[in-house]
Symmetry: C2
Subunit: 422 residues, 2 copies
């Protein structure tokens, strides 16, 4: 029954009952972690063939010895494979090391200090640099901004992407806004997929924004579908080509959640001008990426079809985990008025909103019985969720049994916090 | 015979003869590259077992799954192995990705913008930041300084390391000098090994320098001996412990020339204060290094003894190449007065000095007959060798036959340039 329709007596009874359940959970001495989107052992094992896959053949298709120095832009066959993932041309796709976060940090630092098109264009020349952050969003994006002194402005995330009316209004009225973070497919944490209209309007931002505006398009879950009917992501590259705004976007991706989280391959794409300038800058930092790891990935993932089959195997492993979370939430909380949650068709997260002001309390209650949740506020700039509602749930890493236990505890914490507050 | 003792007639005859030799070389249409210190195919093949060495066992000794996220400081067993290479404690040794250049750039950028011990300590707060650069030295070190706006001051390299009288005088008199580059064992390009006295005096620089002075100790060739009687490198860590200056040094190393140039493992060490601050900074850029590659390295290189055997196999491959270069120089140029060269006991380079003002001409002559040499001046800050004498020779990459051909051509170019100039 909906919390608002319970009588005082019913609430008191429910509260007592929940407190008893909570004490019972406490006595179980749980130690479960629902915080980060880490692949589980079974998922990682899908790519174990990476080690040894070269069979002594370290030559790239063009004869390059992957073991030796050089090739800052990555091996051609790796660029071809990951260009397909990003839906970008090979020539505008660079392939790097194990971390797209490193690439993203590098691009922002580059735009700040070196400038996308020469020293006069460096954002750091200006008194103030701001970024739009659709919320809830990814804490590590916000961390980069905070660390580099970029002021963050939250804009609402809707079911089809950022609220573009709000985004455009901000961009039009404030020329110190230099960019925006996006996780366009299976957004972190809501799982929404940007619509055609949203992608088109994002491609147009470069036309209405100040010079050297940059969309940071972190396509982290480009191929991470859980269901065949998941919405496809419209091509940002195509829309940018049409608008002439390719140099207003940097697209990123990685195989951290395709192969190995620590030993995957990250890649990026942008317009030719940006890539040329970035490459000249990167040449001071590296002689080239780990091309052996790139070659391993090409031999394992081969092409889009093989990659799709590989991702289907991931989905078969983690879909039951997502369904465990959703079923538990549905069963315990549907119609209760105690929370709302998303039903992603892919990605790594489920976004849960408590009643206003209760997220911190839920996280605290869960922590006290050994269930670690992402800190309340983590999905907002500066770690501050103004409504104190959002909690990011990460279903993938725990075993199904542990996940069920953690979720059973979670819903008790949500109910208890809600009942306490009434 | 010494060039200065040739009569005019003898010089004219020699010049004619050399011009004929040069024309003959031109007609061979050579295409040989003596520029960069790249391992050759046989060397790389010594580590081919890296791919597949894990045999499905991706667990580190402490149970960590190397395939998953985390562990910014590197796997414990990798830290232990590479701490031995640097002669530093495990706790003060971090293990990263494939490039020590990336680590070095990161440390300089960190000291400039974030500060070794908080924002007030950032070098970037000061009007001027300078670095001492022992010359000849490594062009990529100088490139980092130039790119980041750090002024470079050349100091002479002697047979036992940098001219420490000159270094100390500079450091004492100019508080804007914030650091110094060092390649302490088999220095790039002279091949000298820093002496006990030099290392001790370098460890003392932190005491006489301004706050937050940093020795960038690029121990790139720590284990790269060609002969068993090669001088050992005194321990910088021990001297810094004695002086209390551990936070005035960052030590670096990598396996780029131990295993695979593109897929090796880089590492660093410093004092606890620096490492803590650096780690906090790095956490915004990466979730962790490629731990699978780290584990592969530990399984291949195991311990100091296995590593030594591995390096002996490298030496067996490249020693004949170094001897080919030296024999050719000895035979053609000893007593000629046309040049001087070093006889390194390890490392990757031989440093050659032409008569003053002729290095560019030699490089140009060689290029015109298809022998690519490191650009004259590359071993000096801003690419400018004031005496235009130094040429860095890299014997490792070419086959012995090609190397002999290239060196035969090189000595003709040296002789021709010398004779032209008299």
């Amino acid at each position: 029954m909906h919390i608002d329709r319970l009588s005082a007596a019913e609430r008191a009874t429910r509260l007592q009952d929940l407190q008893a359940q909570y004490r019972a959970l406490h006595d179980q001495h749980l130690a479960l972690d629902l915080t980060r989107g880490k692949p589980c052992d079974e998922q990682l094992t899908l790519s174990d063939a990476l080690d040894g896959i070269l069979g002594g053949d370290f030559r790239a298709a063009d004869g390059t010895d992957a073991r030796n120095y050089g090739g800052l832009e990555g091996l051609p066959e790796a660029r071809a494979l990951f260009a397909e993932v990003l839906d970008t041309p090979l020539e505008e796709t660079f392939v790097g090391g194990n971390s797209s976060l490193t690439l993203m940090y590098g691009v922002i630092d580059f735009a700040l200090t070196v400038g996308l098109s020469g020293p006069a264009s460096a954002w750091g020349n200006e008194d103030s640099v701001k970024f739009l952050c659709p919320t809830p969003g990814y804490d590590r994006h916000f961390g980069i901004c905070e660390h580099l002194g970029i002021e963050m402005i939250a804009v609402p995330m809707l079911d089809n992407g950022p609220d573009m009316d709000a985004v455009e209004a901000r961009v039009r009225s404030d020329k110190t806004i230099k960019g925006m973070w996006c996780v366009p497919r299976f957004s972190n944490p809501t799982g929404c997929v940007y619509s055609e209209e949203t992608v088109k309007r994002i491609a147009q931002l470069g036309l209405i924004a100040a010079d050297h505006f940059l969309v940071m398009w972190d396509n982290a879950y480009a191929v991470h579908t859980l269901y065949d009917d998941a919405a496809k992501l419209p091509s940002l590259h195509r829309h940018c080509m049409e608008q002439g705004t390719l140099n207003n976007v940097f697209q990123f991706g990685s195989t951290s959640k395709v192969t190995f989280a620590s030993a995957g391959i990250a890649f990026l794409s942008s317009g030719a001008r940006n890539l040329e300038a970035l490459q000249a800058h990167m040449a001071f930092q590296s002689i080239g990426p780990n091309k052996v790891e790139q070659l391993r990935h090409v031999r394992l993932l081969k092409d889009s079809d093989t990659l799709s089959q590989h991702m289907a195997a991931h989905a078969a492993i983690i879909r039951p985990r997502f369904e465990c979370v959703l079923t538990t939430l549905d069963t315990a909380l549907t119609g209760s008025g105690m929370g709302q949650w998303t039903r992603p068709k892919g990605g790594y997260f489920i976004s849960f909103d408590t009643l206003p002001g209760l997220a911190s309390r839920v996280v605290q209650l869960a922590a006290a019985i050994g269930v670690k949740l992402t800190p309340a506020g983590a999905t907002f700039p500066y770690g501050k969720d103004p409504a104190d509602r959002n909690i990011r749930l990460s279903p993938t890493f725990l075993s199904l049994d542990d996940l069920q236990t953690a979720m059973d505890a979670f819903v008790v914490c949500v109910q208890l916090a809600s009942m306490e507050a009434r």
